[in-house]
Symmetry: C2
Subunit: 198 residues, 2 copies
């Protein structure tokens, strides 16, 4: 039986790293920005354009999502829909872990999907972002809050749920418990939820 | 080492039941409405009055919480402060599980506290509330949403966090994984977070 674990994350919470480690432990693929490479392969869209619109809303979105790739769509919309299709193709084809990109919403009708969100106290996220992403300590707090806002905007716009709400997910974890520990808790929850050995 | 696990919950999510089962498994006391019996014992306030203000905001609250039990406080305020004191006394005295009542906020400076929130999809909560609390199927949905709103109002007013946000807690769980399964995940997380055997 194939399954998908989607992992949303506050900026600097270590969510991406947790997803990557979990994928290694479970022996499945992990898609983050790599998803855009897949999208580029499937659609012929340029990776640079895809990167530019990744998890961002563009400014001229009309609010209506047409079901086909018409020319009346903004580039941001096209990127969203291309990702949407690629996420669905992946879920039909293989067990995997997908980070961000509204994958939980895109796969809402799929069976065997577990939706996880990673949080951490702001001070821990600041510490982590300065250490691992090299953020300037004078600006790190502002950058983190801005990145969260961007992700929330994208998620709240394209999905019918709220990015920061507990009930948008099956499981949310404060990663200050530890990276390996968080992986273990997700593994345990997913196994129980999917009723399989993991 | 003593510890406290606080458990907030959406109405009908089974959070109270999970807390009770977990307390049995861990061999510690569990406080829900019983907390009010403790408050009555400690303060001499009437249990009926305490029940009336339990997890509710009264309408005439000035917005200033004085540090002593002055006569200028509304009854709702007095009940909140009496609960606050009782929760602190409990946490100083014993390991326990406390359901709702802003215990996570009250104990924010205490070491060895793990804050959990239980969610479930609305349709599961409706099913549960009709089955176990005997709610009228015509009204169950409205009652559930109203109870959630009441709890959120109380929490958002007395704490500096938001009741429904993932990052207000260390762990949030969709209980549709199963009651025993949710207990097991909380136990596993708490053991890792507190660095003890549980």
């Amino acid at each position: 039986m194939s399954f998908v674990i989607t992992i949303g994350r506050q900026y600097g919470s270590g969510g991406r790293f947790i997803a990557q480690k979990l994928a290694e432990k479970l022996g499945v693929n992990f898609y983050d920005n790599d998803l855009l490479t897949k999208v580029a392969e499937e659609t012929g869209m340029s990776k640079a354009v895809l990167d530019n619109y990744d998890e961002k809303r563009d400014g001229f979105f009309s609010g209506v999502v047409p079901s086909s790739f018409g020319t009346d769509m903004s580039l941001g919309q096209k990127v969203f829909l291309a990702q949407f299709e690629t996420i669905r193709h992946l879920a039909e084809r293989e067990s995997c872990i997908i980070v961000g990109r509204c994958a939980d919403y895109v796969l809402r009708e799929f069976p065997n999907v577990v939706n996880v969100f990673i949080t951490a106290p702001l001070e821990k996220r600041i510490e982590r972002a300065e250490k691992y992403y090299g953020l300037d300590p004078k600006k790190s707090r502002d950058i983190i809050l801005k990145m969260d806002k961007k992700r929330a905007n994208y998620y709240n716009f394209y999905s019918d749920k709220k990015w920061d709400r507990a009930d948008s997910y099956n499981l949310t974890i404060d990663s200050s418990v530890g990276i390996d520990e968080a992986c273990e808790i997700i593994r345990a929850y997913a196994a129980k939820k999917l009723k399989i050995e993991l």
